[in-house]
C-alpha cells in the first residue's frame, strides 16, 4: 500500500513537471479587439481560391504603457476560409492570437450581399468558443477595412472607441445597438432577417449612421439616422434622444429619457389585421428662445401635440418603408403575434411575408409628456 502511494505521488510529480500544455503567458498573447471582414477583390487575392479579406485590430501593449507611438496595429490577411485566415496569422507573428476580448465585428457591404460568405462567417463566429457574443456588430457601406484606417482621437484603441459609440445609444437613439447574441437570435427566430447598424469611417473618426437591413441573409437596403431612431421607438429599444418639435415656427428640441412602446392587436377583420403601436415618451424641453416664457401649460400642450404627430408620422413612414420597400418585418409584429395571439399567427404563418406587405393596417399613437423645462421659466 505504501509503495503504491509512493508511485502515485511520483507519477503526479512527473506529470506536473511535464505538463502545462495550455500555458501561454499573458504577454505572449495578442488580444484581437476588432475584426473586419470583406469579400476579397480580384486584385487582392493571393490565390485564386481566396474569398475573404480579414482585418484585425489589436493593441500594442508596450506602447499603451509608455504612451508613445502607435497604440494598436492592424493586420490584414487574405484567405479562402474564415478560420484559415485566423490561423494564417501565425505565419507572421511570434505570439498567440486570442479572441476572448474581441469587442467589435465589422462586415463589409460585399460580404453582406453574398449570402454564402455571410453564412459561413456567422457559423464560424457562432460556433467558436472564444468569441463572446456580447461584441457589437456593424455593417460598413463600402469596405470594412476603411474603418481600420481610422485613428481615433479620444481613445487609444480603435475597438473600444467603436464599442463606446455603440454604448452611447443610451443618450442618442439614432444609434442602434446590436450585440452579436441579439443578431443571432434575430437570425434564428426570423430565419434570416435582422438589422445591423452601419458604420461610416473618415480619417479621424468613425460614425454610426443608420442601419443596414438584412433579409434572408442578404443586405437589401439601408435606413438613415432618423429612421434608425424611429426603429428604436418601434422596437421599444429607445432609451434617450432628442425629437424636434415646432411651435410658432420656432424649432424646439424635446429631450426624452424614457420611451416605451407596446403593441396592441385591435381587430382581425376578414383577412386584414389592425395593429396599433402605443408609444409613451417622457422628457423635458431645455431650449426655446430667449425672452419667451415656456412655463405655460397651454403652450406645452400644443407642443406635446406637435411632437406627438411628428412621432406618429415618422413611425408610419418607417413602417411603410418596411412594408412596401424592404418587404421584411423587422418592426416586431411577427414575434408579437406569435407570443400574444398564437391562433392569429398560426393562420397566417405560411404566407406571412405576403400578408405583412398587403394585409396589415398599422396605426401609431404617441403620447408625449413634457415634465420639465429647465432652470428658467
Amino acid at each position: 500500500m505504501r509503495i503504491s502511494k509512493l508511485i502515485v505521488i511520483l507519477m503526479l510529480c512527473v506529470v506536473v513537471l511535464v505538463g502545462c500544455w495550455d500555458k501561454v503567458e499573458i504577454e505572449d498573447r495578442i488580444f484581437v479587439l476588432g475584426i473586419g471582414i470583406d469579400k476579397a477583390k480580384e486584385e487582392e487575392k493571393a490565390q485564386p481560391t481566396d474569398r475573404y479579406v480579414i482585418n484585425f485590430a489589436s493593441p500594442i501593449v508596450g506602447a499603451l504603457k509608455d504612451g508613445g507611438g502607435e497604440t494598436f496595429s492592424v493586420d490584414k490577411t487574405v484567405s479562402s476560409i474564415f478560420t484559415f485566415g485566423l490561423n494564417q496569422m501565425y505565419e507572421r507573428i511570434d505570439k498567440k492570437l486570442s479572441f476572448q476580448h474581441t469587442r467589435i465585428l465589422i462586415f463589409g457591404e460585399d460580404m453582406l450581399k453574398d449570402e454564402r460568405l455571410f453564412k459561413e462567417v456567422l457559423d464560424a463566429v457562432g460556433r467558436s468558443h472564444e468569441f463572446h457574443r456580447n461584441m457589437y456588430v456593424f455593417a460598413v457601406p463600402g469596405r470594412a477595412d476603411e474603418v481600420f484606417k481610422v485613428k481615433p482621437k479620444y481613445n487609444k484603441l480603435l475597438a473600444s472607441y467603436v464599442a463606446g459609440i455603440a454604448e452611447n445609444n443610451l443618450y442618442q437613439s439614432s444609434i442602434y445597438k446590436m450585440p452579436a447574441y441579439q443578431m443571432y437570435d434575430n437570425l434564428i427566430n426570423s430565419e434570416g432577417d435582422t438589422i445591423i447598424p452601419s458604420l461610416r469611417a473618415s480619417k479621424e473618426e468613425a460614425k454610426v449612421s443608420g442601419l443596414g437591413v438584412i433579409k434572408d441573409y442578404k443586405l437589401v437596403g439601408y435606413l438613415n439616422d432618423m429612421d434608425s431612431e424611429t426603429l428604436n421607438w418601434l422596437n421599444n429599444t429607445a432609451s434617450g434622444g432628442v425629437i424636434e418639435g415646432k411651435y410658432n415656427d420656432i424649432l424646439i428640441p424635446y429631450k426624452y429619457n424614457d420611451f416605451n412602446t407596446n403593441m396592441v392587436l385591435d381587430k382581425v377583420d376578414g383577412d386584414k389585421i389592425y395593429l396599433t403601436y402605443n408609444m409613451v415618451a417622457e422628457g423635458s424641453v431645455e431650449e426655446y428662445i430667449w425672452g419667451e416664457n415656456l412655463m405655460e401649460q397651454a403652450l406645452l400642450d400644443t407642443l406635446e401635440k406637435n411632437i406627438e404627430t411628428r412621432i406618429e408620422e415618422r413611425g408610419k413612414s418607417v413602417v411603410d418603408k418596411f412594408q412596401k420597400e424592404l418587404k421584411v418585418d423587422l418592426v416586431g409584429i411577427a414575434p408579437y403575434l406569435r407570443k400574444h395571439h398564437p391562433q392569429v399567427y398560426s393562420s397566417i404563418e405560411k404566407d406571412y411575408e405576403n400578408f405583412f406587405q398587403n394585409n396589415m393596417v398599422i396605426k401609431i399613437k404617441a403620447e408625449v409628456s413634457i415634465r420639465r423645462v429647465g432652470t428658467i421659466e
Partner: protein, 369 residues
C-alpha cells in the same frame, strides 16, 4: 477510540438528493427542455418534478420495510441472494456507465473552453483521482462534502445569473400552454435525462438511522431540484426564445457568456461558471461512485468499500474514453437515458416494492409519516 458512525442526517440526505441529480447536465438541460417542450418546457419540468417526488416516496416506502439495511442488502432478501447480487451488480455497472458519461461530457467541455491542448487522459485522471480520494472516506465523507459544497455551489450560481436579467425577455415564454399535450408526450421519454441520479436516493436512505424521516428531506431536495430546473429553463428560454435555445448545445453557458459587467474585477463570468461546473460534476461523481464501491463490496461480501475505489476508477476512466466525440457521446447518452435509465429508475424499484409487498417481507407499515 471514537468510531465513524456511518450515518447520514436528514439534512445531508436532502443535499445528496440535490447534488446527485444536478450534475453535468445543468447547462445542457435547457437545450433538452427547449427542444422537446418548446417555450412551455418549464411547465412540463415542474409537472415532471412533482411526479418524481412521488416516485421517490415509493423508494422510501421500500426502504422503510427494511430499516437499518441498505438497498444492496435487502434486495438480496427480496429476490434471493443470487438474483439480488446480479441485480446489484447490474445497477453498479449502469451507474459506472452513467458516471463515465458525466466525466466525458465534462471533459469535452473543459477541453473546449479551458484546456484545449491538455490531453483528455490527464483531465479525466485528475478529476477522478480527487473523487476516488473522497469516496475512500466512506458515506460520511461523501455526505459532508456534498453538504459543504451546496452553498459554495449555489450561492455563486444564483449570483452569476442575476446580472443577466436585463437581457431576459420573458415574453419569449408566451404563449403559455398551447399544444401542451404533444409537448408532454415528446418530453416524457427524456425525463430520466433530467432526473437521473434519483435512483441514488434508494441507496442513501439505507444509511439513515430512521428511514421514516426521509420523506421530508427527499421532498425538499426534489422540490429544490425541480425549482432549480424550472428557473434555469425560464431563464434559458426567456433569454433566447425556444428556437435559439435549441440551437445552442449549452444555452445556459451562452446566457452567462453574454453577460458583460463593466467595472468589476471579473468582467466575464464564464470562468466562474465553469469552475462551478467542475464542482457540480465532482459532487455527482462522488455520490454515484460511492454507491458503486459500496454495492460491489456487498456483492463480494466485503466489509470495507475503500479498496474498490481505485480499481473501479480505472473502469470509469476506460469507459469515458470510449466515445469518439461529443456527437457520439450524446447519441449514446440518448439511448442510455431513454431506455436503460428508465428500467433502473422506474421499473426495478417498483417491481421490488411489489415483490416485497406480495411476499410480505420486512416491516409492514411505517408508523410515522
Amino acid at each position: 477510540m471514537i468510531r465513524n458512525n456511518d450515518n447520514i442526517s436528514p439534512y445531508q440526505l436532502a443535499m445528496l438528493v440535490i447534488m446527485s441529480i444536478i450534475g453535468v447536465g445543468v447547462f445542457n438541460i435547457v437545450h433538452v427542455i427547449a427542444k422537446f417542450g418548446g417555450n412551455d418546457g418549464w411547465i412540463i419540468m415542474t409537472a415532471m418534478g412533482i411526479v418524481h417526488i412521488f416516485l421517490a416516496f415509493l423508494f422510501i416506502r421500500l426502504s422503510c420495510r427494511f430499516p437499518g439495511k441498505t438497498f444492496p442488502e435487502y434486495i438480496q432478501e427480496i429476490l434471493g441472494v443470487v438474483l439480488g447480487k446480479i441485480l446489484v451488480f447490474a445497477i453498479s455497472c449502469y451507474i459506472l456507465l452513467n458516471l463515465a458519461y458525466e466525466v466525458r461530457e465534462f471533459t469535452e467541455v473543459a477541453k473546449m473552453f479551458l484546456l484545449p491542448r491538455t490531453p483528455t487522459e490527464v483531465i479525466i485522471f485528475a478529476l477522478i483521482l480527487v473523487c476516488a480520494y473522497v469516496v475512500r472516506g466512506g458515506v460520511e465523507s461523501v455526505a459532508r462534502v456534498v453538504e459543504i459544497t451546496f452553498p459554495i455551489l449555489f450561492i455563486p450560481f444564483f449570483l452569476v445569473l442575476i446580472p443577466g436579467f436585463p437581457n431576459l425577455d420573458l415574453t419569449n415564454l408566451l404563449p403559455v400552454g398551447s399544444d401542451i399535450g404533444t409537448k408532454f408526450t415528446r418530453m416524457i421519454p427524456h425525463a430520466p435525462h433530467a432526473f437521473r441520479g434519483i435512483e441514488y436516493i434508494l441507496f442513501y436512505i439505507g444509511f439513515m438511522k430512521r428511514p421514516q424521516r426521509a420523506y421530508k428531506p427527499v421532498a425538499w431536495g426534489l422540490i429544490f431540484v425541480t425549482g432549480f430546473y424550472t428557473l434555469v429553463s425560464v431563464i434559458g428560454i426567456g433569454a433566447f426564445g425556444a428556437k435559439s435555445a435549441t440551437k445552442a448545445i449549452w444555452p445556459l453557458l451562452l446566457y452567462i457568456r453574454n453577460i458583460n459587467i463593466p467595472g468589476l474585477f471579473i468582467e466575464r463570468l464564464d470562468g466562474v461558471i465553469l469552475s462551478i461546473w467542475v464542482i457540480t460534476v465532482f459532487t455527482t461523481i462522488i455520490t454515484g461512485f460511492f454507491i458503486v464501491t459500496y454495492s460491489i463490496s456487498k456483492v463480494i461480501n466485503s466489509k470495507e468499500q475503500k479498496q474498490f475505489a481505485l480499481p473501479l476508477m480505472m473502469f470509469i476512466y476506460y469507459l469515458a474514453l470510449q466515445p469518439a466525440g461529443l456527437a457520439e457521446l450524446y447519441e449514446w447518452g440518448d439511448w442510455i437515458f431513454k431506455y436503460v435509465s428508465s428500467i433502473f429508475i422506474y421499473v426495478i424499484p417498483i417491481v421490488a416494492l411489489l415483490i416485497a409487498a406480495i411476499r410480505r417481507l420486512g416491516v409492514k407499515k411505517s408508523e410515522d409519516f
